[in-house]
């Protein structure tokens, strides 16, 4: 099975003090798909994403990334294995321009480091030029190339979300985790994000997206897992999943 799956989560558990946030969560994300994680507030969606990206240790269970166990690795090691993510509350780096934000995302692809990198050798300069070009291309793909030299903080909310996605994308992740990429957006903005995500799947990136917006989930996800009170209550194609009575109960209370 490990040949076709990008991410396999098995029996994952997490407690904060006396509160069980995740109880034995298991799900499998096939390669080159868009996988949705839905569920009401407090269901444990972001906690799950934080554990997968290595920001939180799990209390139990296992995670395999392309067949390799990785639940003991910290975030920076997972980033090097090709896991990249965005955040629910946009987290850009203060004081940097749009293109600099994306350049920061190329860190793990910069090879000329240490003294050689700081000595400004031709190789170091060539590498930086090359990465800058790639950063601009990535900005082009999210529609922000014209804003490259502006301060990131001057962008609109929707554009800041796009920028965060560009920063995650420029590292060429094998697994991209998006935490509510359309939170607080208007319909025009979120359809744009939807098209961006489907475009990424075509180019061979596996994407896990935590999302509240059911219309978006139906539009872009190949499969969706619905979480409620720390458990997966349904996992199927979006159309099937959202018709299930237990899912409707979790969302609408009946």
């Amino acid at each position: 099975m490990s040949g076709t799956e990008a991410l396999a989560v098995d029996g994952l558990a997490k407690r904060f003090g006396g509160l069980s946030v995740l109880r034995s969560v298991s799900l499998t994300v096939p390669r080159d798909t868009v996988f949705g994680i839905a569920g009401p507030n407090g269901a444990g969606k972001t906690t799950l994403l934080n554990i997968i990206s290595g920001l939180l240790p799990a209390d139990g269970g296992s995670i395999r990334l392309y067949g390799d166990a990785c639940h003991h690795l910290p975030a920076q090691a997972l980033a090097r294995l090709g896991v990249s993510r965005t955040f629910q509350n946009i987290r850009l780096l203060r004081g940097l321009t749009v293109v600099e934000q994306v350049l920061a995302g190329t860190y793990r692809r910069r090879r000329v480091g240490g003294l050689r990198g700081s000595a400004g050798t031709p190789r170091a300069r060539a590498e930086l030029r090359d990465l800058r070009e790639q950063a601009l291309e990535t900005l082009e793909s999210v529609g922000l190339r014209d804003a490259a030299d502006r301060l990131a903080e001057t962008l609109s909310y929707g554009d800041q979300r796009r920028l965060e996605i560009a920063r995650a994308l420029v590292s060429r992740p094998r697994l991209l985790l998006l935490d509510e990429p359309t939170a607080g957006m208007n319909a025009a903005d979120w359809t744009g994000i939807g098209e961006l995500v489907t475009g990424l799947r075509e180019s061979g990136t596996t994407i896990v997206v935590v999302e509240h917006n059911m219309r978006l989930i139906q539009a872009i996800c190949d499969r969706v897992a619905v979480l409620a009170s720390g458990e997966v209550i349904a996992c199927d194609e979006p159309g099937v999943c959202l018709r299930r009575p237990e899912v409707r109960k979790a969302y609408f209370g009946k």
């Binding site: 910290p74 990249s84 987290r91 203060r94 990198g117 359809t191």
Partner: protein
């Protein structure tokens, strides 16, 4: 006139030595660590080098090397213990480090002259200070454009985001701390060479306050801010002292207030300049820019 020139040179010399110490503190702030340990590194560098100048007849350049090495080693050892501390706890721990350093200096009389202090046999000249600061600035300017520079800024602004970008946050901070140690040690030797006599009080809390003022008020978001800050807060007082004596403290205080109120980012503030530049530039027309992404829903 000759006396004026001497005073001016003296002020410049203290500014340059202060700038090296300020750059040492800037190094740690760059990676998001608020540390006063520069003073401890300076003390170690100064007393270690002075001892060797007195006992082994070391000249200035080898003394700088020894001082930098001493500061770097102390930074590596203390860094291992301290870097894991968060925010203000690290700052407090480094203040404690200054206190501990003083106790050690007082009690290692054979090596440091104890509370009596020690005469520094080698004099530092203006050109030597210029060379050392020049090299330090060159290294920092290069670092700023390197992979390390990117990693340090990301670590300072958001360590969590930095980690998810694959940046080894702790290692970046450790490297910054050690470079801070080397610069601090070198700065300590320069300071000793200017003072010509050092005792435990030469490297104590007041120096820590001056150095952090240089960095923060000079501008903590660019290395050049530390240099400008050092000119204003270590060089200027030496020069102005002749005109107003103790009144100099009033000028210092007024300067502090003016900068804090009207230039909260410090004298050298690249972020403010960028904001001003962006403010002058017309915003790109968003509709045109978005067109391809918004075709339908």
């Amino acid at each position: 006139m000759g006396q004026q020139l001497t005073l001016l040179i003296s002020a410049a010399e203290f500014a340059l030595a202060g700038a090296v110490l300020a750059l040492s503190t800037y190094m740690t702030l760059w990676a998001g660590l608020l540390s006063f340990a520069t003073v401890s590194f300076a003390a170690v560098g100064a007393f270690f080098a002075t001892h060797l100048m007195n006992s082994a007849g070391l000249g200035l350049w080898p003394a700088l090397l020894v001082g930098g090495l001493g500061g770097g080693v102390v930074a590596a050892v203390t860094g291992l213990l301290l870097i894991r501390l968060a925010g203000h706890w690290l700052a407090l721990a480094t203040v404690a480090l200054i206190l501990v350093t003083r106790v050690v200096v007082v009690n290692l009389g054979g090596l440091t002259g104890g509370s009596q202090g020690e005469v520094v046999p080698v004099e530092v000249h203006l050109w030597q200070l210029i060379v050392v600061l020049g090299v330090a600035c060159l290294i920092l300017a290069r670092l700023a454009r390197s992979r390390f520079g990117t990693a340090a800024v990301a670590t300072r602004e958001d360590p969590t985001v930095a980690a998810t970008m694959g940046i080894p946050v702790r290692r970046v901070q450790a490297v910054a701390f050690v470079i801070s140690g080397v610069l601090g040690g070198v700065g300590g030797v320069l300071q000793a060479g200017l003072l010509r006599y050092i005792d435990p009080d030469s490297f104590y809390i007041d120096l820590a306050v001056t150095v952090i003022a240089c960095v923060v008020l000079g501008g903590a978001y660019h290395w050049f801010g530390s240099v400008i800050g050092a000119v204003v807060f270590t060089g200027l007082p030496v020069y102005v002292n002749q005109f107003i004596g103790q009144g100099q403290a009033i000028i210092d205080g007024a300067l502090l207030l003016i900068i804090m109120i009207w230039l909260p980012g410090g004298l050298v503030d690249p972020l403010r300049w960028r904001r001003l530049r962006d403010g002058r530039r017309p915003a790109p027309t968003p509709d045109k820019r978005r067109e391809p992404a918004e075709v339908n829903s």
